[in-house]
């Protein structure tokens, strides 16, 4: 224990003494957070569409047929009540709920006017906006058909059709794109900084020859590794804190869920990344090599995390690959907790997968770190 303390003390001194690195660790991520949080747009496909039909008339069925026929909406599910539908949305099973009110057909025939309720999961603000447009288009075309039908059904003419769809964006009411991006960018920053720093740190000792000196001391493997990685774990947590403050102050991103849960998950997540960094440094001889390999993984992890491109739109094999992407889980958890206020039970699948990942990665790292060749 004391030995680990000495190593940690030394690492912190070295980190804070490196006048070039310190601003890189803390200033660059902030700049990135600010710039990246205002970027990119989406094409939305495979929208998980569901509906609650309180009317059950030919009109309501016709409207649903329109959605069924659309190429953008698939997985059409019907829910018996809006309560069940909204719990499905909370679980992330559906993106859109269309609620057709009772007397939809009657009102339409009698009053020439009725309302539809559309609920859109707007955690992904950009996607929700696009989904809203699609829904409006379908409703509008239904309107025109309905009008024709009505004209045939009644002799009154020139009465304007009046179906209005009122969208209600859940979890991101104002469709603020930044609300959606900031948690994701924060994930990237925590990941990159901790991976690069841990990956390069041990290689650096290899380069300057002090690692050999360490290997000649009676330090135990686990002491060395814990002592080496703990400072970066702390650094990752500090970065998260700085990022969350910026998200709140600068972008006004809400923190609906529990901060404690966020930190709990992040603490395990950083272990995955540190294990990976150490694993990389065990197989490389120079900081340059370590950097390249770290980049390789970071790029794949980020692009396949669902942050910039929705995972639902990826080909199936790629979707399968994302199962092995720790960044994907972190993005999900970050958004769920920050925007939806998800509880521990909600993020349990991600938490378990990340924990297993952490155990495997660190196991590999310890196994591949050899004091003796």
């Amino acid at each position: 224990m004391k030995t680990i303390g000495y190593i940690i003390q030394k690492e912190f001194k070295q980190i804070f003494r490196n006048k070039a690195m310190l601003p890189i660790i803390f200033v660059l991520p902030i700049i990135q957070l600010i710039i990246l949080s205002s970027a990119a747009t989406f094409e939305v496909k495979n929208i998980a569409f569901s509906f609650v039909d309180h009317d059950r008339t030919s009109f309501s069925r016709e409207l649903i047929n329109k959605f069924e026929a659309s190429t953008f909406f698939n997985v059409i599910t019907e829910f018996p009540s809006e309560k069940i539908a909204s719990s499905a949305m909370l679980k992330g099973e559906v993106d859109v709920i269309l609620e057709i009110p009772q007397y939809f057909e009657r009102d339409l025939l009698k009053n020439r006017k009725t309302n539809l309720l559309v609920i859109i999961n707007a955690i992904d603000g950009a996607a929700a906006g696009v989904e809203n447009v699609y829904i409006n288009q379908i409703v509008r075309s239904f309107n025109i058909n309905a009008q024709t039908d009505l004209m045939q059904a009644s002799d009154k003419k020139n009465i304007p059709k009046n179906i209005i769809s009122i969208p209600s964006f859940w979890y991101n009411k104002t469709l603020n794109y930044k609300t959606f991006m900031v948690p994701g960018i924060l994930v990237i920053l925590v990941t990159m900084i901790t991976l690069f720093l841990s990956g390069m740190n041990i290689v650096r000792e290899k380069e300057i020859g002090t690692l050999e000196q360490m290997n000649v001391t009676p330090i135990k493997k686990h002491q060395f590794i814990i002592g080496k990685l703990f400072p970066f774990w702390v650094l990752g947590m500090v970065l998260l804190t700085v990022g969350l403050i910026i998200a709140r102050v600068l972008f006004n991103v809400p923190m609906v869920g529990s901060l404690a849960l966020m930190y709990l998950y992040t603490s395990v997540y950083i272990l995955v990344i540190l294990g990976m960094g150490l694993f990389i440094s065990n197989f490389t001889d120079t900081q340059q090599q370590a950097m390249f390999i770290a980049w390789f993984f970071v790029v794949i992890f980020i692009l396949m995390s669902g942050l910039f491109t929705p995972i639902e739109s990826m080909p199936e094999w790629a979707q399968f690959l994302t199962e092995f992407n720790p960044v994907k889980y972190y993005v999900e958890v970050m958004r769920m907790v920050m925007l939806k206020g998800s509880s521990f039970i909600d993020i349990l699948p991600q938490f378990l997968k990340t924990s297993i990942y952490a155990i495997i990665m660190n196991g590999l790292a310890v196994w591949s770190y050899k004091k003796t060749n």
Binding site: Y6, K10, I208, G209, T210, E212, T372
Partner: protein
């Protein structure tokens, strides 16, 4: 029981693929001896030393250091030895004081003991004015002397020095060897590799490695007689040129 031969190697061999870096070397080093391990660049000195200090597993052969087997108890060996490599092994971005504290700490010395050792070491090396300076700001000679002292912090039974005086001036080399003598007089066994043949003269016994094999092993005096040479330099040239 007192161990008389603190280093024992028998047919110690290290192969890298087809290349035999160390070819069945056999030798013993006595307690308190200054043992010079000579050889040209690439003769296999460093590889042999790495096997003895437990960071390289031998391909075949036997060896024990401080009474511990290199295969079975490398960690026990590590507790009993000090090592100073040809690569400078202190942390450049830590101060003199911090380096001493760190190395003392990882060898399990108590805080009081570290402090006591530090004061003693700083005084002996005359580093009072630079104790809070970064090691990177010190001249090479000072760094080497400091690295040697740090390697002796935990009072190891044997100290391994891999070309410790590479690149330092003659005065510093002289001082360095005074430190080596002092350590040896204190009962520490010194195992040193070097290129400088004048340094070989200071050793109690020397071995000369050529292409992975030990070609000669004796006191400098006997070696000079054996090869009818004036200096160790001549002995070395005769052997190395084959």
């Amino acid at each position: 029981m007192e161990i008389i031969n603190v280093i024992k190697a028998k047919n110690l061999t290290k192969k890298f693929g087809d290349f035999t870096a160390v070819d069945a070397i056999t030798f013993e080093v006595k307690k308190g001896e200054i043992f010079g391990f000579l050889g040209a660049n690439g003769a296999g000195k460093t590889t042999a030393m790495k096997m003895l200090i437990g960071i390289s597993i031998p391909t075949s052969g036997e060896a024990s250091v401080a009474g511990f087997d290199v295969y079975k108890n490398p960690d026990d060996i590590k507790k009993n030895i000090g090592y100073m490599s040809q690569k400078f092994a202190l942390y450049d971005d830590l101060t003199v004081k911090e380096n001493i504290t760190f190395y003392g700490g990882i060898y399990g010395l108590s805080r009081e003991r570290i402090k006591e050792k530090r004061c003693q070491l700083v005084e002996e090396l005359g580093l009072q004015n630079v104790v809070n300076e970064l090691v990177s700001s010190l001249p090479l000679g000072w760094k080497q002397k400091l690295a040697f002292s740090v390697a002796l912090l935990h009072e190891p039974k044997i100290i391994f020095l891999d070309e410790p005086t590479g690149g330092v001036d003659p005065i510093t080399r002289r001082q360095f060897w005074e430190m080596i003598y002092k350590a040896a007089n204190g009962g520490t066994t010194v195992f040193v590799t070097t290129h400088y043949m004048d340094e070989a003269e200071y050793c109690d016994r020397v071995s000369i490695m050529v292409d992975g094999k030990i070609e000669a092993l004796d006191t400098p005096k006997n070696l000079k007689e054996q090869f009818k040479a004036e200096t160790m330099n001549d002995v070395f040239l005769i052997l190395a040129r084959g």
